[in-house]
């Protein structure tokens, strides 16, 4: 938590003091801790939002007030003090002025990942100067896209420039009262990404938040909305491929995807938020709601995720297969090392005829890590001939970690079929010895075996991302065996 938060939370607020704190905070462009209607008004005003946005935020806030934090998952953590969180701060955090000021641990990881120097600066949040030519990169890339009619901008910008799209689609996939964290995000989200691909347009490059985040740092409540119009295609990469050691603990993001007739969205994530130290201290709580709606005939949404970071991951990227013959996919690698807890999976909701879904989940547990796959495949009455294939594999490294698989399958149409396979394996001494007998070090052997385990997922990632994911996995699991 930030230092100002520490200071404030030491005080007991009476209503009066609260208001007082409020005014002084306005001067510093930072809301006082806690959440109430006034703060929602203030956020919306700061962002100069149209009334429909304010009303929506208020509606979400009231819904959230009535909700309770979900307790059904397998993750354990001390209660989150929502009244101590600062929900809006426009003042940029003090960015380090050069790499010399960045935590050497982070720099070591960058080095291992082979990230070029200028990127390291950007990722570490070093104030961008002439060294990092992000401005020109950003511009050429934006021009190219706008020629095709593709909109790719920050969420705030989209609210100003394309309110009609926001009004149509915001909350249309993840309803404002979907769950506790989504409702909270909806009420207070500070920024995020927006993307619209027009009809029959194939986005010529992988769109990445990476470029955008350099331009404007998004907060802990970020929101992404991607709309692929009829016959369009987009591949979107979300990622922080390096650990951003964030002082704030709670991340509650929402991602909504909409695919219309014959449109395809591929959404890839490499998540490596700070996982806490080896003793389980610190780390990010990552409570994320990601959902895609395959609205159109033959539309397709594909989620690929490599989750190596965060102390807690609570995340179920899902697909609602409304359009006939639409396709949903979920490919996931989730790692829980040291004291990390991952509770992740997907939901595939089959509504249309001949819809198909594929779920490939690979969970890796090491140290004291705890990894849960939680999935739901629901095939509704009208989803004739729907098909699902699910495969959940767990890999255990060491004897203090755990893995569990909790699939739930509901089939309401007799012509539909759902298949489920699950396995749990250990990296065996035999495998490691076999590799070492051929001249490989223990570490290389472990990496080889783990990469083999994750292969089906890695091959779904765009090339450069796959390479980074592999390296990241190696760094994350370093020293887990032997």
């Amino acid at each position: 938590m930030t230092s100002s938060l520490k200071k404030n939370s030491a005080n007991q607020y009476t209503d009066e003091k609260y208001r007082y704190g409020f005014t002084t905070s306005i001067e510093s462009e930072q809301a006082p801790p806690g959440l109430n209607e006034e703060i929602i008004h203030w956020i919306s005003e700061k962002k100069n939002e149209p009334t429909f946005m304010l009303n929506w935020r208020l509606k979400c806030y009231h819904a959230w007030k009535k909700m309770r934090e979900p307790r059904w998952s397998s993750v354990h953590y001390p209660p989150i003090q929502y009244e101590e969180i600062i929900y809006y701060s426009s003042a940029q955090k003090q960015a380090p002025k050069s790499l010399d000021e960045v935590d050497p641990e982070i720099l070591k990881t960058f080095e291992k990942l082979g990230i070029p120097l200028h990127e390291r600066e950007a990722l570490a949040g070093v104030a961008i100067d002439a060294v990092f030519d992000s401005v020109s990169v950003g511009t050429t890339f934006k021009e190219k896209l706008s020629k095709l009619g593709i909109i790719f901008c920050s969420f705030s910008e989209a609210v100003q420039q394309h309110p009609e799209l926001i009004q149509t689609y915001l909350g249309s996939v993840v309803p404002y009262n979907d769950n506790f964290f989504a409702a909270l995000n909806s009420a207070v989200f500070s920024d995020g990404s927006f993307c619209y691909i027009p009809k029959h347009t194939r986005c010529p490059m992988e769109l990445s938040t990476y470029f955008r985040i350099n331009a404007a740092k998004t907060g802990q409540f970020e929101r992404t909305l991607i709309i692929a119009d009829e016959g369009s295609y987009v591949s979107y990469l979300e990622g922080c491929t390096a650990p951003m050691r964030d002082e704030n603990q709670l991340h509650a993001a929402v991602v909504e995807l909409v695919a219309l007739d014959r449109a395809e969205i591929r959404y890839s994530t490499v998540q490596n938020w700070y996982p806490g130290d080896a003793q389980g201290k610190g780390g990010v709580y990552n409570f994320v709601t990601k959902r895609g709606a395959c609205r159109g005939y033959r539309s397709k949404i594909s989620w690929t995720q490599v989750e190596t970071g965060s102390a807690i991951t609570w995340k179920y990227p899902s697909c609602i297969l409304q359009g006939d013959e639409s396709v949903g996919e979920f490919y996931s690698v989730a790692v829980a090392n040291h004291f990390q807890q991952a509770d992740t999976g997907t939901k595939m909701i089959h509504l249309g005829k001949n819809t198909t879904s594929t779920i490939i989940s690979k969970g890796i547990s090491a140290g004291q890590g705890q990894n849960t796959y939680r999935g739901l495949v629901r095939i509704q009455k009208k989803a004739a001939q729907a098909r699902n294939y699910t495969q959940c594999d767990s890999l255990l490294m060491g004897s203090h970690c755990s893995a569990q698989t909790l699939p739930s399958i509901e089939v309401k149409n007799p012509t539909a079929k759902a298949e489920h396979e699950a396995s749990t394996s250990k990296i065996s001494e035999d495998q490691i010895f076999y590799c070492r007998q051929r001249g490989l070090s223990t570490e290389d052997a472990v990496n080889l075996i783990v990469n083999g385990f994750c292969k089906e997922v890695f091959k779904k990632l765009p090339m450069e991302f796959a390479v980074e994911a592999q390296k990241l996995l190696a760094v994350t699991l370093e020293g887990s065996v032997g």
Binding site: Y434, C435, Q437, R438, G439, G452
Partner: protein, 263 residues
Amino acid sequence: MNQNREMLAIKNLHACINEKEILKGIELTIRPGEIHAIMGPNGSGKSTLANILAGREYCQVTQGSIMFENQNVLTMAPEERAQRGIFLAFQYPVEIPGVNNAYFLKAALNAQRQSLHEAELDAVDFLELAKIKLKELHMDESILQRSVNEGFSGGEKKKNEILQLVMLNPKLAILDETDSGLDIDALKIVAAGINAWKKADRSVLMVTHYQRLLDYITPDYIHVLIQGKIVKTGGKNLALELEQKGYGNLDSLQLTAMHEQRQ
């Protein structure tokens, strides 16, 4: 004896698995170019000896020494032994799901080259070499694209071991029952592959139960291992004798006597 002429020298080797003594004083010397066979009943310690040479950790050496090219093997990590040229073809090759066979072989080869300060092979050179070797072993190229030993038949696994052997080109090849699981044609091919690989300075230590392998790879020496001791050593004809009479008639008194004589 000229020390330099010894490739492998095992002296008074005692070893335990879970506190149980499995090897009870092994003496064995292999010179460059020699082929040695080890035979013996199930559970006598043949694989244990092979595993100890390769550096398997669950086998604890309690006494004795192993020297390879005048270096103490016992202090070396398994990968170092491999890099120095000790190769073990496993009795039960291990499956590594999802790891491409070609990738694995290339990684192994380059780990070895790196340790010898040689330049790494790139994908093109590697593939060229692999294709030559595959042809020699009458193996299909498709094996390169499969996962290491995953879903391989028993025979395919053994062949894959030999592919690795000829690719890595070690100095000492330890073959643990490489013949079992091979049909007669495959056996001939594998034997031909090993013979083609084995040059004047390369040595072989092969564990087998059957004469038929020895028909194709002629050993210089045959050792009989019973209950953790080499009780008899002879020439290539010893195997025929054993095949006829079995191990049973080497009764224990005789064994001890013979063993003491050797020492």
